[in-house]
Symmetry: C2
Subunit: 222 residues, 2 copies
């Protein structure tokens, strides 16, 4: 029974890896679509979000089924609830990538203008955070998860710089206000994606350090 359970848990982790891969692909593709004014790529990101929504539900169901069938021990139960939370964050990353793609489709209807923001670099940073956060889950590595949390400051900074540059652009070249406003919103979407990666890392830390946290929890009851 335990062996069968372990296999199902492994399968669950594979599903999360797949969600993580889809999330990363969506961000890279959305940034590409924006850079290369590629509407077909933007459309693919929106389609992929539908697939992620479906996979999220399937993973949720599998988690609940696993609990109902096996009545797992505390340690396994903790793994499953971590997967549930992380699954939800990955799905919301897919939503944000779809938002970027929808905004990209809007900007493609407008006059082409170079925005003074390196969205690709922001997307790469966010993608790296997701990859490491998912890896920290698979390897149960709280130190790796800590490093993801530390990376969040950098994307906050990139978002602030993007915001400033685009506000200046609106001042200097008001004819491109619409494009610049969309740029501000896209930079913010990328920052939100990084927030979800940070949230995944926090869940991994909570999960790996369950014993410490339980200790802390008991202390609160004193």
């Amino acid at each position: 029974m335990q062996r069968h359970f372990d296999e199902e848990l492994q399968q669950l982790k594979n599903d999360i890896l797949r969600m993580g891969a889809l999330a990363q692909e969506a961000i890279v593709r959305a940034a590409d679509a924006l850079k290369n004014r590629d509407e077909a790529a933007a459309r693919k990101v929106v389609d992929a979000d539908v697939e992620m929504d479906r996979l999220e539900l399937a993973i949720d169901d599998k988690c609940l089924e696993l609990i109902a069938l096996h009545q797992p021990m505390a340690v396994d139960l903790r793994t499953i609830t971590a997967v549930l939370h992380i699954n939800n964050d990955l799905e919301r990353i897919g939503d944000q990538a779809a938002n970027i793609a929808k905004r990209t489709k809007n900007i493609l209807k407008m006059e082409d203008v170079m925005l003074p923001v390196d969205f690709e670099a922001m997307g790469e940073h966010a993608t790296r955070m997701i990859r490491l956060a998912v890896q920290s889950l698979i390897e149960g590595d709280a130190f790796l998860a800590e490093s993801v949390r530390a990376m969040d400051d950098e994307i906050d900074r990139m978002n602030r710089v993007a915001h400033e540059e685009l506000l200046q652009m609106i001042q200097k070249r008001p004819q491109f206000t619409d494009q610049a406003m969309i740029g501000i919103l896209i930079a913010r979407n990328l920052e939100s994606i990084a927030d979800h990666a940070t949230s995944i890392a926090a869940d991994v830390i909570f999960w790996v350090r369950g014993a410490d946290v339980r200790h802390e929890y008991l202390a609160t009851l004193d």
Copy 2:
């Protein structure tokens, strides 16, 4: 022209107050629905989310129109982009409240069992964070916004305690696993709501301290 613009900006702030009020109402009502097993109240929360989605779009349009018509100065532009971001966070709070309400509707189909979590206290804490975050925007008070960020630790702690209590409940009374799992997800929704309030506070700080931040930004170019 400036007077007319100031009036429109004031109107925009009123709209955000309204969004904030709807967000708070949704959380209080969702917590009530869960506590009193009140399906009609849960349904009202889901309906209110549709109203919030509509209001969000109206505010977004008003922001973009204001910029296009008035080509505002840097300081006003910064206010409008702050409103745009905060509007988006409030809408996502509405989504989370709707998630709680949907989960409540599910739990109402199951056997009634007392969950060892004070969801009302969590909801009150989150609601207070939203109220203060919106107030910090209206009053342009960065110190008040700082206090909202500090409040986030407490709801993180509440969420961890809830998670632990519910995991223990699953161990001891496995027949109530489904109810406990929903409880874990609802506690997490409340924690996400507080994250959005914290994000609003960060935007207010960024907006109020625009001058400092610009300085910091210029330093990054050295």
